[in-house]
Subunit: 187 residues, 4 copies
């Protein structure tokens, strides 16, 4: 059997125990064996500033870019801050997309899972992120859409999705994501 | 005559000599005397992380929040990164809007000027920002919309807007912004 | 006491017994006496086609435009079709905004209530509509945002909002809308 | 050689001689021979109303749905009305997507070309349409993005794109669209 494919997971909140991180882990646990998913950390990335490209770039930018360059696809798991993408995740996107012509995202398949404690499931962040992925030329999974509401009550003490319906949805989502990757970037 | 009103200007790019900073200065120079506009720096703000609210918050967050709290209105001048709001500006919004119940933006009038070297004038960033301002309850100037294209050729050596049509537009914009502030937050 | 202000209500679905129409009526019933709200029908408007402006315009366009011209503000109550504004409502906006220079919406205050049977509350339609209202120069109420989920279970046999929390929210919303109108378009 | 693939082209404006129709024709003329593109008319579709699904549906709905069901992919060419998708095009989407479970768009590849006489190239319509296509599960070409400004000066008396740079872009766009269709829906 072929090696599983290397998928980078970017989590929108950089809180240590953020709900979106827990949700990301719970989804990862339900992925098919064809995918090897790893959360890539973004908390240490200095704010994007093009002036810093001129000399030696900040070390965290270099590490992040190197790691992301190896990834074959990207899964975004994100809350919503002020009806849009949280700054730490937008920063990872801005850092990874530069300098011009060296984007680490270019032509890689993507999936988006957005979440909130409330009912709306971070719809606003989800679609703002989609607009950025157009520019980055990332073929993005359309269906199923994943707007996960009530995320504060979703994860049990073992880190699994407590609700059977949502667990089933997550399993289906990860299968669809794997299939999408194979469809648009076959190996 | 009454003192001019204190207006904070947030510039979306943190490059030292960014085009949006130059554009912001050029617009500021054309404002009516009822407005006292000042660029508030956002480059030093650590990425928003709710964990940091628990103890003593990072000093740059404190300074930024104190300064912004005094402002009576906010003018955003921003480029577009990846078809959305640049991370440094989104970060300033996320930092200033927290902790819950202490937003420095609450109920303050806002204006948005977006710019790009290309033709599109950062339309995507402009409207993503507008979506955040709904959540922040900032009454936002609707017309004139300000999508400034070709910004790399717009500012002359003295920092003024070279093109008479755009200079006239900028004058009109700043007058409309002053009128909007007086309309929704009269003094 | 002054006459109440004339507020046009545009309902996004043209089904006879649409949930959004019921919701609109329930909100109208909770409005303060300073507002006189009336649903303005949009079902009979032919699709917008600029060619038809040249000769005698379709009679339904004329009636709609005349009625809307008298309104002092507009309340939109809408479901979401395909993650955006339903065609009948977008058509009413397109018809009412033309011909150039004769928009019936110009500089009128607006409010938006979006609804869905599911949890998301038509967030996508709500914000797409907001983007149009920027162009139309309608000062739009920012807070409270109104994303009404579970609308299929919300209205009782008498047409009232069954859920006390939502009824209270609706009362608060209508008061805020009345206050917003008075704030941006005082009489 | 295999038969060319049947691609439906939906034009956002229903004016007889609309600029977007002219632009659509000019792009069609530059398509590779693997694609057979045909403009499918949407002007006669009554406004979407779910009540009409109960009995015999309006004949134009039936014809449109039948024609679209045969299409293997869809190319949208659209202007912007009020910073969003024109009502006639949104109506075609709403009609074609219903009734539930019978969408004519489901899982078909899509491309979007937006245009305006001004500089902005209908960016707002382009991305609002993209949000609908997520729901419709249409894999949408990301790059090249096509925001065609100055469209009123673009088409010559023979209906071709006068400007060599834009003509070259259009050729490249149609090749990329053909390649995208083959990538996500190989035959």
């Amino acid at each position: 059997m072929a090696d599983p494919r290397d998928i980078a997971v970017l989590v929108g909140s950089i809180r240590r125990d953020s709900l979106s991180r827990k949700l990301a882990r719970a989804f990862i646990a339900l992925a098919p064996p064809t995918l090897a998913l790893e959360i890539v950390e973004i908390a240490a990335l200095p704010l994007y500033n093009a002036d810093l490209e001129a000399a030696e770039v900040p070390a965290p930018w270099g590490h992040f870019r190197d790691r992301m360059r190896r990834a074959e696809a990207v899964l975004f798991v994100t809350p919503e801050y002020n009806r849009s993408v949280p700054a730490p995740l937008k920063n990872a996107i801005d850092v990874g997309s530069r300098p011009s012509g060296k984007s680490v995202f270019l032509r890689k398949p993507a999936g988006i899972i957005s979440c909130s404690p409330g009912a709306l499931g971070a719809f606003g962040a989800n679609h703002h992120l989609r607009q950025s992925l157009v520019y980055l030329d990332m073929a993005t999974l359309q269906q199923p859409e994943a707007y996960i509401g009530g995320v504060d009550k979703l994860i049990d003490a073992q880190g699994a999705i407590a609700n059977p319906t949502t667990r089933e949805f997550a399993t289906k989502y990860m299968a669809a994501f794997a299939e999408w990757i194979q469809r648009v970037a076959p190996r």
